[in-house]
Amino acid sequence: MRAGMMNASLDAVLVVTLLAVALFSVLARQARAAVIGFIAFGLLLALAWVRLGAVDVALTEAAIGALTAPLLLGASAFAGTEKPASPPLRLALAALCALIAGTLAVIVLAAPEPAPSLAMQAVAPLGALDLGNAVTAVLLAYRALDTLLETVVVLLALIGIWSLAHDENWRDAPASPAAPSPPLDLLARVLPPVGLVVAMHLLWVGADAPGGKFQAATLIAAMGLLLMMAGLTPPPALGDARLRALVVAGPAVFLAIGLAGFLFPGSFLAYPDGWAKPLIIVIEMALTVSIALMLLLMLLGPGARKPSA
């Protein structure tokens, strides 16, 4: 009973802080303050996911949040000076949005109790896959099409970013984010091996415990960015054929295995009996490499003119 009270008050504190930080981020006067508020919001949101029992999601949120932070902080330098809407309009908008939030709240509170759940039915057939982590199993079994499309969406976003380059720089390396300093140099020499081991661990335990390819890929991308920020590695030329092959390897392997499903079990993305687990491991490995590379390249941006020496 007392533990229940403790948990409820913990949830309440977390929710109030989460909303306060979100409010700060929306209302802050300066763009940089709004960005910092948003970064704090992402961390608190990861805690909220833990409280909701979704540790896989919490890991993804924390990792992706850490990658978004440098992107947003960099962009806060380009924040426009456009004035927000006039006070009467803002008041009307606030009333409208409060109405929408209120309607949603009514729907949430009116949800039937106990909630109807298909989780039993969803989990039952997953036993055949020999994966202890139901979320990983779902991502690569019924929702495999989502996962495939998602990697393609990420690839499209990357191509979109690349296409922002000047025509003559399309194949060149992106502008280097290097800002070397001795402490950063030390960090970039010591941390990446540790980060890679943790990423491999996340990928491997993802079969049975919270973790998986997205979390691992994000971590690898972060390590790559750290190396480049410390100036230890220059950004790669985007026209490099090997680089491009690695970027499409994940979706291509996934697609090939999916198409092979037509031949043997008889439908797209179906795994042959007894082969599900090894095929899933192959897909996860290939996707990890591609997603890590795509995330890193997205952070680096389009090809840029080399700074004339």
Partner: protein, 109 residues
């Protein structure tokens, strides 16, 4: 009230707050930030549905959780694309301004 519905209410507030930010701000970066808040609210609603559907000895229904993980990564891709577009837009505007400044001296800022 259960813990899950508390987070459900928080999700509703986040959606309202994010929507307000998207509509009330004119600066693109602020809109991107607010849109991400709105998205976080929607994801959180999924999380609450997953939590409420907990069964079979799981902390939550894995299907909505898997969808949210996919969603978070796609949201990141969209945010990155939006911010890169913003960077290019700013660069183009700066170049335009510089060209204007050269043509008709001090008036154009």
């Amino acid at each position: 009230m259960t813990g899950a519905s508390l987070f459900g209410l928080a999700a509703c507030v986040l959606i309202g707050l994010g929507l307000y930010g998207v509509l009330a701000h004119a600066a693109p970066l602020r809109r991107v930030l607010s849109f991400n808040l709105l998205g976080a609210g929607v994801f959180l609603l999924f999380g609450v549905a997953a939590r409420r559907g907990a069964a079979a000895g799981l902390p939550g229904d894995p299907v909505p959780q898997a969808l949210v993980i996919t969603g978070i990564v796609v949201a990141f891709a969209a945010t990155a694309l939006a911010l890169m577009l913003l960077r290019r837009l700013t660069a183009l505007r700066a170049a335009e301004r510089a060209a204007d400044g050269l043509r008709d001296d001090p008036k154009g800022r």
